[in-house]
């Protein structure tokens, strides 16, 4: 202990850690009905960090070319020790990052945590979500299998129907007129260099802003938060956060080990697309919406372009929510905003369910609500009236 103390003092003298440590010691997290939502950003961050680590490891064996990509992934999965696990963890963690980013976004939205002075936290968060989706889209192509090839063909082609900029966008995304080995190199560059660089900057700003402003108390919970003692960040909140991360790791390891990701067949640009081509689940609602739009055009603009522009507009609206919801600025919770949020969730879940002809997306939604309620109960800070001071209640050992 004396040595640790000495090492800390040595570092402190050079880095002046004490102000930061003091701030951490004083930091508290408000306690109220929706406190459990505060963990979701952390869980998303955890899965993202897993992506960074496993992604770097996969780069040790992956070869980004049309000739070798599929074979290198095949080698990775069949010959490299634990290669199948590494790839499986990377793809499961990708799904979970997207899932928790969506959940984080939705909860932050419904408790109006984007109001003054946290507008920039919201905007960086939404941009991070877009980046995560771009990671998903670019990473999907990298194994160079049939599914990836056709999903990328369709996904990039969609952009083509947008008036004026469409054609340029398709060429820009594909690195040419068609999806080829050139597209693969390009997607690889985005996936391992450009997107990570952008994400690192935005993520640092996002986390810095969270520390700067502390946690937002939802307008309806101000009285509760004032009545209850806030939870000390260290050690009470930090330990609960750690618990959440370990639980997340457990879920991830279970999924990756029991349901390893398949590789499929090598991409063949001259083979017909097989039945049941679909995008990743998080693009399904857009894909399904497009299916419902008939062919045709009005004033030279394909019908197809309208839903695409609609989704573009919807993205912009989500980005600008803090400025559109004027009521939130004076701590009012306008019902219209909640209704719009519920409608958006219903649309996304409904279209996803329709796309899969399955009710699983609905169960996933209900499941996450139930999971949050359960975690909220499990991780709660006891009320001051519980007959003890500070920390969790000591339990009887039987």
């Amino acid at each position: 202990v004396a040595r640790v103390r000495a090492a800390y003092e040595w570092l402190d003298e050079r880095l002046s850690l004490t102000p930061a440590v003091d701030k951490l010691r004083e930091k508290t997290v408000p306690s109220h009905r929706f406190s459990v939502y505060y963990y979701l950003g952390g869980v998303t961050l955890f899965f993202f960090l897993v992506q960074v680590v496993t992604g770097i490891l996969l780069m040790l064996y992956y070869r980004p070319s049309a000739q070798e990509a599929f074979e290198s992934v095949e080698f990775l999965m069949t010959t490299v020790p634990f290669g199948w696990l590494m790839r499986s963890v990377h793809s499961w963690s990708a799904h979970l990052t997207v899932f928790f980013a969506f959940l984080h976004l939705a909860t932050v939205f419904f408790v109006r945590a984007y109001r003054r002075p946290r507008e920039l936290t919201w905007i960086t968060g939404v941009l991070l979500l877009f980046l995560i989706l771009a990671f998903g889209f670019s990473g999907y192509l990298l194994p160079w299998n049939q599914l990836a090839f056709f999903a990328t063909k369709v996904g990039t082609e969609i952009a083509g129907s947008v008036p004026v900029v469409g054609e340029w966008t398709v060429r820009f995304l594909r690195g040419g007129d068609r999806v080829t080995g050139g597209t693969l190199s390009r997607f690889y560059g985005w996936h391992v260099a450009i997107l990570p660089a952008l994400t690192t900057v935005l993520l640092l700003v996002h986390l810095l802003l969270v520390q700067l402003h502390g946690m937002s108390v939802p307008p309806g919970q101000v009285a509760t938060a004032r009545r209850r003692r806030p939870m000390k960040f260290f050690p009470h909140y930090a330990l609960r956060d750690l618990f959440a991360w370990i639980a997340a790791l457990g879920v991830l390891a279970t999924l990756a080990a029991l349901f390893p990701w398949e590789l499929g067949d090598k991409a063949d640009p001259f083979a017909p697309a097989f039945a049941d081509i679909k995008p990743e689940w998080y693009f399904m609602f857009m894909f399904e919406t497009l299916k419902w739009v008939p062919g045709g055009e009005v004033a030279g603009v394909a019908y197809e372009a309208f839903p695409i522009m609609f989704f573009g507009l919807a993205g912009l609206i989500v980005l600008l929510v803090p400025f559109l919801d004027r009521g939130a600025q004076d701590e009012r919770q306008r019902r219209g905003v909640t209704v719009a949020g519920v409608a958006a969730v219903a649309f996304v879940v409904g279209m996803t369910a329709l796309g899969y002809r399955s009710l699983v997306p609905l169960w996933a939604l209900l499941g996450s609500v139930a999971l949050l309620a359960l975690l909220g109960w499990f991780l709660r800070e006891p009320e001051p009236g519980d007959g003890h001071r500070g920390g969790a209640k000591p339990r009887e050992i039987v």
């Binding site: 490891l57 040790l60 010959t79 490299v80 020790p81 634990f82 290669g83 696990l85 590494m86 370990i246 790791l249 050992i397």
Partner: protein, 149 residues
């Protein structure tokens, strides 16, 4: 055992087991797997009057994944050695003027028996056997076959 020391022990063991179960696959993953290399015991090296061999007096052959240098030391005198310098793995060449096998990376010199005669190389080059196979038909040149000694 006291409750506190039991909990300390329990927590440390759990964290240790967790760390080990994460680190073990990672360490195994980053260690490259053994991949059997394509190996050969002999390769055909082309005709005795191969233009490259006539002009430069040597050529580098692929012996599986391993480079081998074939030297035309004189009329009808062919010799072959492993082409990787014993110093730091560079590929050597034959210098006709000096009559030595030379490594450009760090000026290692080998004589025509493969012996390291000057510079940093610590060991001689491993020799290979060269067979001159008589021509299959009239008017055709003899061919060379290099074999692991």
């Amino acid at each position: 055992m006291e409750r506190r020391s039991f909990l300390d022990w329990f927590l440390t063991t759990t964290i240790g087991a967790l760390a080990a179960s994460v680190l073990y696959p990672v360490v195994r993953f980053i260690s490259p797997p053994e991949v059997p290399e394509a190996s050969a015991n002999q390769v055909e090296a082309g005709p005795v009057n191969d233009p490259e061999l006539m002009e430069r007096a040597f050529k580098i052959l692929r012996f599986g994944a391993e480079p081998v240098i074939l030297v035309r030391a004189g009329e009808g005198d062919f010799r072959a050695f492993t082409a990787t310098c014993t110093h730091l793995d560079c590929i050597v060449e034959f210098r006709r003027q000096q009559g030595v096998i030379f490594c450009n990376c760090h000026s290692g010199v080998f004589d025509l028996t493969g012996r390291n005669v000057a510079g940093p190389p610590p060991r001689p080059l491993t020799p290979f056997r060269v067979h001159v196979v008589p021509p299959a038909g009239a008017g055709q040149p003899a061919t060379l076959v290099v074999e692991r000694a």
